[in-house]
Amino acid sequence: MEPSAFSLSGVVKEFPGVRALDHASLNVRPGEVHGLVGENGAGKSTVIKVLAGVYQPEAGEIIVGGTRLEPATPKTVHAAGVRFIHQELHLVPHFTVTESVFMGQEVGGRLGLAKRQMRQRAETFLRENLGLDISGNRLIRDLGTAERKLVQIARALIDGAAKVVVFDEPTAPLASEEVDTVMRAIARLKEQGIAILYVSHYLSEITDICDRVTVFRQGETVGVFDAITDASAADLIFAMVGREISDMFPAKRHRKTSLGLAVTGLSDADKFTDVSLNVGGGEILGIAGLIGSGREELVDTLYGLRRTKSGSVFFDGTSLRIATAAQAVRQGVALVPRDRRHDGLVLPMTVTENATLATLQDTARVGLIDRKAAKSATEDQIKALDIRPPNADNVTRLLSGGNQQKVVLARWLSTNARLFIFDEPTVGVDVGAKAEIYQLIEDLAAKGAAVIVSSSDPVELQGVCDRIIVMMRGRNVGTLPATGLSIDTLVAATTGAAKVEDLANAG
């Protein structure tokens, strides 16, 4: 049997209606960095929670250091020496480095706390184990994100009992120049014989730092790759995606009819810099990018939800002012937000009330809502969009995800919006409704609207859009034409496994 720091085998985890893990397995050897990759929904987060003891699996076993954990609870997992570096930092801004490292595990002295001892231990640990020379008295809020990440790592490892460390997207919030700091720290931990499970969407990091990689797809382990080099990325992507593109997508009949949106050198305060893009009336532009790439912030900014620092935004040759969302709406911008339950809909209100929120000025007379007009307008939309059940008085909360999304759409369709921004339009939507939403997007473009689709689903982007821009660490790193674009290539560009300019030249 091969040596193993920890292993999962035959793990099954079901949620109502979904099998999130289907006999998944994972085996990490001592002193190796083991990558775990897979698309969104492949089961990576679920397997981390099973390993953490947060979820109890229906079947399967977890073995750490040769001992089977039965059952695996947060306590037994911690006692076995497994530590988690969560994606969120979870630090108190006004605490010092020392206080943060020892939070919840303070060392007592004869009188109160052994403050000096704690400080020396924290500083020594950060310097020698993670390569960060820093005073224990500095406040967290004065540190950069990479330094905070190292403090978070130190907190998990300071007790010296760690044998296995699980990193969940450790570089997602970092700027590219900060990534190296964290990568070097992880390399040091590996030298100390600690087994590391490295979960990330950034394939370039995976191929840089990992010795072996396990690929998940739809809750199953579909491959374990040895001898990882930069050239392995293509194999990983093939294993991750591995599916046929279905004929969910409508034929692209729209044609560019007007100048549309032209964004030049747009920057916000911190999340993205110098982004330029354009999408004509009658065109569909895709935006690809991982979490932390600035994609979501870019979309929010175009809709006036975030402040811009510099850059210009024009629509059909005239300046578009997007300081606030209300301003954006008045000038014909429509957003279908990613979190529709939170941002897109007032769930306790009826379909009519939601559908007419943006157009109240049209259905209202001297400030009073004309309920009859509002309802009949909504009933037309319900018919046009095939919202089910077709009842304008239904409370929106009771509708399925796909139908809720259509209600959000109904609101904007009744305005005379010129620019539609779809942010993750089909998250949590079933396959049938997906196809309908794609058709609606196509119809909008065919009628001459400029459409932007921001999505984490490469298949969706390729299927719906004309061109796709790729966001990475706050910058637009290039544009890919959708025609003839393979999903693998798009994933390679989004995850940093390949440079967009090389792909565009090759294509």
Binding site: H90, P93, F95, M103, G104, G112, R141, L143
Partner: protein
């Protein structure tokens, strides 16, 4: 990127300092205009006057540190002054019925603990926001006290209570020594024990504390009980200061408590509510009250000025959080 990281806190530090600057400015103005304001005798008077506020500030600081310093959703306990008045009312009423001081003190302690525990349960178990919970409790507890004392003044001349005001040990008033001891114990518990650090962690970031295995709700409960205890002790100082229990003291006490505690954040190097900051804030607020009095400023104007200062302090704390 780096410039942003360093530039942010600096701006927020400047904004965080402004309330302090305004306060010191007002004090300088007073000392230039009021004769004999800066004398040992007068400063002792200021300290004596500030003792009840200092005590409740210690309690409020504990609650804010455990619950976070967001004025609306964070930790706050407005009921402490009411608890103090209840403590004073029960003691005065029972003394007037010829109970021993010990039994009065025990009865008052029990009543105050009940208030603290109810606060804690409502906030941590029922999940109510501290602001609304403790505001309601403030009203309720004052109501209970009105029932007990029939809302009238009760004179107290028990020598032990008067000693809090009159007796001196080596020329330092006993009251100041006792309160200083309580403040030092509070400071030590908050900054030099595991409990205190965990309490601060709970208030600083609830998620971070929970992930580190800290029982956040238990610590929040502790803070409400500590607050009730400071209110309890404060009750005796109210009796000493007023030679008895009189209705209505709680209103001004609450105002000065909130003002002093949040003003205190300007003293802390980390710009957060701390024990020392709250105590210094309490002394400053008392100095201003007395200063206005010795300048002969109309009492009604004093209320306006204090209210404005609260607005200024809270506004700057909100601004400094936003620019942070």
């Amino acid at each position: 990127m780096q410039a942003d990281v360093r530039g942010g806190p600096r701006l927020s530090e400047i904004v965080g300092f402004l309330p302090l600057v305004i306060f010191v400015g007002v004090l300088v103005y007073i000392s230039l205009n009021a004769p004999n304001f800066v004398t040992v005798r007068n400063l002792e008077l200021v300290l004596m006057q500030s003792l009840p506020v200092v005590l409740v500030c210690v309690g409020l600081a504990a609650v804010v540190m455990a619950g976070g310093d967001d004025v609306v959703s964070g930790g706050i306990d407005l009921s402490i002054p009411a608890t103090a008045v209840l403590s004073a009312g029960i003691t005065a009423q029972m003394l007037s019925l010829d109970y021993s001081l010990l039994s009065c003190a025990l009865a008052a302690l029990l009543a105050c603990l009940v208030v603290g525990v109810i606060n804690a349960l409502l906030v941590t178990r029922v999940g109510m926001t501290p602001l609304l919970t403790t505001l309601a409790m403030f009203v309720a507890v004052v109501g209970v006290n009105n029932v007990i004392t029939s809302s009238r003044r009760i004179n107290v001349d028990h020598p032990w209570i008067i000693a809090l005001r009159g007796t001196e040990i080596g020329s330092i008033p006993l009251g100041i020594i006792l309160v200083a001891a309580i403040v030092i114990i509070g400071y030590f518990a908050m900054h030099h024990t595991r409990w205190g650090l965990n309490l601060q962690a709970a208030g600083g970031s609830k998620d971070a504390a929970e992930i580190s295995g800290i029982g956040v709700n238990l610590l929040i409960s502790h803070s409400f009980v500590v607050a009730a205890l400071t209110g309890y002790v404060c009750g005796f100082f109210l009796l000493a200061r007023g030679s008895g229990s009189s209705p209505g003291v709680q209103d001004n006490l609450m105002l000065e408590m909130v003002l002093a505690t949040f003003l205190g954040a300007a003293f802390s190097p980390r710009r957060v509510v701390t024990m020392w900051g709250a105590v210094l804030g309490a002394v400053l607020v008392a100095a201003i009250s007395i200063g206005f009095k010795s300048m002969g400023v109309n009492v009604f104007w004093t209320g306006l000025i204090k209210g404005s200062l609260i607005v200024v302090v809270v506004a700057f704390s909100a601004i400094s959080q936003r620019v942070r």
